[in-house]
């Protein structure tokens, strides 16, 4: 077992994990944050996408031990004070999700995209989301949602540039024994 200390959605905690545990399993099984999903085993589908140290990461392709000392933002940490992030709101307004399985990863990938490009073109959005598969929407409304999210972020409150100060929306039961506010 390896001891790791990771800050997830603003909450730091220490855990002993098997070295072979993937970050996504750590989030899902240890922390009980089941928003990130596992849809494939070859890093293609992107359902597990979270932000690690500021960059979108397929958490199925990163060991939990590699995140030691790092900061992770998951879909559970995107909303603040019970308010959906403008991007989350945009996905709802534009019907950018159907079954909801790819959605957390899709939103996090789009979130990172908009951090680097506040007003992407349709083509830039499509290329920016090429690592996230959706089988339901045909991407039409996802593209529109990202466009709408970009507008909302530009018009409304600014994008959250320091996501790691965002408190977790909800802490589900976890095996955390040494959890404390980071």
């Amino acid at each position: 077992m390896s001891k790791i200390r990771v800050t997830v959605n603003g909450v730091a905690s220490e855990h002993d994990v098997e070295p072979r545990m993937m970050l996504v399993q750590f989030l899902r099984e240890v922390l009980g944050l089941t928003g990130a999903h596992v849809g494939c085993d070859t890093s293609q589908c992107g359902s597990c996408t979270v932000i690690v140290d500021g960059v979108a990461t397929k958490s199925c392709t990163m060991l939990a031990v590699q995140a030691d000392g790092g900061e992770v933002l998951t879909i559970e940490g995107l909303a603040q004070n019970g308010q959906l992030h403008p991007l989350q709101l945009a996905f709802r307004e534009e019907h950018g999700l159907q079954c909801g399985f790819c959605t957390p990863g899709m939103v996090m990938a789009a979130y990172e995209l908009l951090q680097h490009n506040a007003a992407p073109t349709e083509a830039e959005i499509r290329h920016g989301l090429e690592g996230n598969l959706c089988r339901c929407t045909g991407y039409h409304n996802i593209v529109r949602a990202v466009q709408d999210g970009a507008r909302r972020m530009a018009e409304g409150r600014p994008a959250v540039h320091t996501p790691f100060s965002v408190p977790a929306v909800e802490r589900t039961a976890s095996s955390t024994t040494t959890a404390k506010r980071g």
Binding site: P19, D41, S43, T49, A56, T61, L63, G131
Partner: protein
């Protein structure tokens, strides 16, 4: 989804990493971004007993301009390369190639060193390194050596690195002033690896005649390789459309092409020519503009 069990090491220095590799040899694998290795481990195609993570080793994540070269640390991610102004200005071929690897999240984690050491036959960077005549710095128990890219890629997933060596850096000589480079790639629609990728570096003399050319292909055979026939066909010629086409037609020369799921050999050879033409054309344009 669940790799076989292994022991995890996160050494603080290159020497420690080398010592760990020396102790465990073939039972150990280096881990950088993990985007080649971890999927193999999850599918249990790879089952190393020891994983040596380079994440804590300082100095591997830098892109440095030197007098006659650009040095890129092994842990530099594809995204860092893609976004580097320095590389965009001096090595646009590398910027282009990095931007076409995998997808954004893969580029965020995947590294220069990891990709080169893995030596996937359809990876982009090996061809680029061949065309740019890069040297790869390996640190091992006997010290450091520079391996020319030319000698680095041996065969399918096999490089000149010893099991005890760490790839620490890539040194890319700055191309001469009157040269231009480009990378063109047909991406596999699903995997986004190269069905064919062509990296071309063309140098022109004052009269606009090709004075040197380095062209490399990936995706066609068991490893990335130089297209020497194409290079020879260009040198000493004025690179008009007809000359470029003729040179491009020889790009797969010496590679035994097979029918595969992407099409029959004839189609793959045709695609190689098309992408070689495109890469050469843009390389020449850049050389002329420089």
């Amino acid at each position: 989804m669940y790799p076989a069990d292994f022991e995890y090491h996160a050494p603080a220095t290159l020497d420690e990493a080398v010592a760990l590799l020396s102790a465990h040899k073939d039972d150990a694998k280096l881990l950088a971004g993990g985007h080649s290795l971890l999927p193999m481990m999850k599918l249990r195609f790879a089952q190393p007993r020891h994983l040596v993570d380079v994440r804590r080793i300082p100095g591997l994540s830098e892109i440095r301009a030197e007098a006659d070269a650009i040095a890129i640390g092994a842990r530099v991610t594809h995204r860092m390369v893609e976004r580097s102004e320095l590389i965009a200005r001096r090595l646009p071929m590398l910027s282009e190639a990095a931007a076409m690897i995998g997808d954004p999240a893969v580029r965020n984690r995947g590294t220069m060193g990891g990709s080169l050491a893995h030596a996937d036959p359809a990876a982009d960077l090996p061809a680029v390194m061949l065309a740019l005549d890069a040297d790869l710095r390996a640190v091992g128990p006997k010290g450091t050596r520079l391996i020319p890219a030319e000698n680095f890629f041996l065969s399918l997933l096999t490089t000149a690195l010893e099991p005890t060596e760490v790839l620490s850096e890539v040194r890319i000589p700055l191309p001469s002033v009157r040269s231009g480079g480009a990378y063109e790639k047909r991406r596999h629609p699903a995997s986004r690896f190269a069905i064919v990728g062509v990296a071309a570096l063309v140098e022109l003399d004052a009269k606009g005649v090709v004075s040197a050319a380095r062209v490399a292909v990936t995706g066609l055979g068991s490893k990335a390789s130089r297209a020497t026939k194409t290079e020879q066909a260009l040198v000493g010629r004025k690179p008009d459309e007809a000359e470029l086409d003729a040179a491009a037609r020889q790009v797969a020369d010496g590679i035994e092409l097979h029918d595969d799921r992407q099409g029959p050999a004839a189609y793959r050879a045709h695609l190689a020519t098309v992408y070689a033409t495109r890469a050469l054309r843009r390389a020449v344009e850049r050389a002329r503009a420089s």
